[in-house]
């Protein structure tokens, strides 16, 4: 996710006021058309977007700042959000079979996809949620990356079966293996140990996150993540939504996806035919975009001046979006669906994703420096 400092823009009062009129009206329309559950999920999405934008809570930046400057603040805030979400998510999943956790296979595609995603998110300066919320804010690179995220997520899902044929083990739910208490204890310990190591390795430099904002953001993200589970029946996710949009677009162009191993299942064909706002991931994604826009309108920080963007940087952003989308589907999610929701659901694949994506980020930071990108 992106930079903390948001340069002030010179938008006038009309353009600042417009989102505050349009977004509530759009929310009412969505609730009327798509139903109460979707309306509630749109509010959760608005909350995600507002919190991410207002507190500069960043997955991508949190990792990059630790790797470059050994500032552990962003990383520790992520652990706090995941740990708090886990405290409610694991008991809910253990006691309510109607709820589904984010549990996915342990496959070669997971390792490769997460590594590539970790590298690409540093080049794009945004992970799944970061690309969305910064596109909502009007960041040029994220807007450029967005179409690639849609196409890549669709294609990655369409090819997922082939990638899985390389070899995979079934998903491991620590709730099933250790019980709810055991899963919380083991994962809580792991987060604490990694957090302590990150803190111990810190350098005495001023943190880019000042004040309590990022910690409040972590707590709010955990609350919203649990709300997402309670309302939708599944944890927070991002990249399934853009993939579904891509599936719809190619279907409109005449493609027949019924023979595809991923998109051709009965449930997904029904989703492709149904209104896209009926999809729980889509509705929170759209809400997230709108929530970020509201915060930007409130602060007058929409469409920030990010300086001149070279042709090379435009191309890098477009390609990074495509790679982000594709790799996230090989890895069964992005930083939200796999890392945040996977670990808080007690799934081992969330930890594998974290390790592989973190390793990929070290490569992505070097690529970023070669491209002359700021921050």
């Amino acid at each position: 996710m992106g930079s903390v400092a948001q340069p002030r823009s010179a938008t006038g009062p009309v353009s600042r006021l417009a989102p505050w009129l349009v977004v509530p009206a759009a929310w009412l329309a969505v609730t009327w058309v798509a139903g109460v559950r979707q309306g509630l999920l749109a509010l959760v999405g608005l909350g995600f977007g507002a919190v991410l934008a207002a507190t500069a809570f960043g997955f991508t930046t949190g990792w990059r700042v630790w790797l470059r400057q050994r500032d552990p603040t962003g990383l520790l805030a992520q652990f706090l959000a995941i740990g708090l979400a886990m405290l409610a998510t694991v008991p809910l999943l253990a006691s309510h079979p109607e709820l589904s956790g984010a549990v996915a296979p342990l496959s070669w595609s997971l390792l490769l996809g997460a590594f590539v995603f970790g590298a690409a998110m540093q080049v794009a300066d945004g992970c799944g949620s970061g690309t969305l919320y910064k596109a909502g804010l009007g960041h040029p690179a994220s807007i450029a990356a967005f179409p690639g995220l849609v196409i890549g997520s669709f294609l990655g899902a369409a090819h997922q079966d082939w990638w899985l044929s390389w070899g995979s083990l079934p998903g491991v739910s620590l709730i099933e293996a250790l019980g709810a208490g055991g899963a919380i204890a083991v994962q809580g310990m792991a987060l604490a140990v990694i957090g302590a190591l990150a803190w111990r390795a810190r350098r005495a430099t001023g943190s880019r996150w000042r004040g309590r904002g990022v910690w409040i953001g972590a707590i709010l993200l955990a609350v919203l993540g649990v709300a997402n589970l309670v309302i939708a029946g599944q944890p927070w996710g991002i990249v399934y939504g853009p993939g579904l949009w891509g599936a719809k677009l190619v279907t409109w162009l005449g493609a027949d996806l019924s023979g595809n191993a991923f998109w051709g299942t009965e449930a997904r064909m029904a989703q492709i035919a149904a209104p896209v706002l009926d999809d729980v991931t889509t509705i929170t994604d759209v809400g997230l975009l709108a929530g970020a826009l509201l915060v930007a309108a409130r602060r007058g920080t929409a469409c920030p001046d990010v300086g001149a963007v070279t042709g090379r940087q435009w191309i890098a952003a477009i390609v990074a979006g495509l790679v982000l989308g594709y790799s996230s589907r090989l890895a069964f999610g992005c930083n939200v669906g796999a890392y945040f929701s996977g670990i808080s659901s007690g799934s081992l694949h969330g930890w594998v994703w974290f390790a592989a994506a973190f390793a990929g980020s070290t490569l992505g930071i070097r690529m970023r420096e070669r491209l002359g990108m700021r921050g």
Partner: protein, 53 residues
Amino acid sequence: MRRIGLAIGFWAALAGFLTLDALRSAPRDRFAEPPPLALGSERAAGAGHCSGK
């Protein structure tokens, strides 16, 4: 350099996609609408999550 036109284009494209989708998709059955909360509804979650295969 600020690129307001790019942001407006992005939101217009998104609104256009959602509008086109509403026009092209199968009509909703309001009587088949899910309950407001999945928790306690005895209805399993749908097909759409990133962790799905």
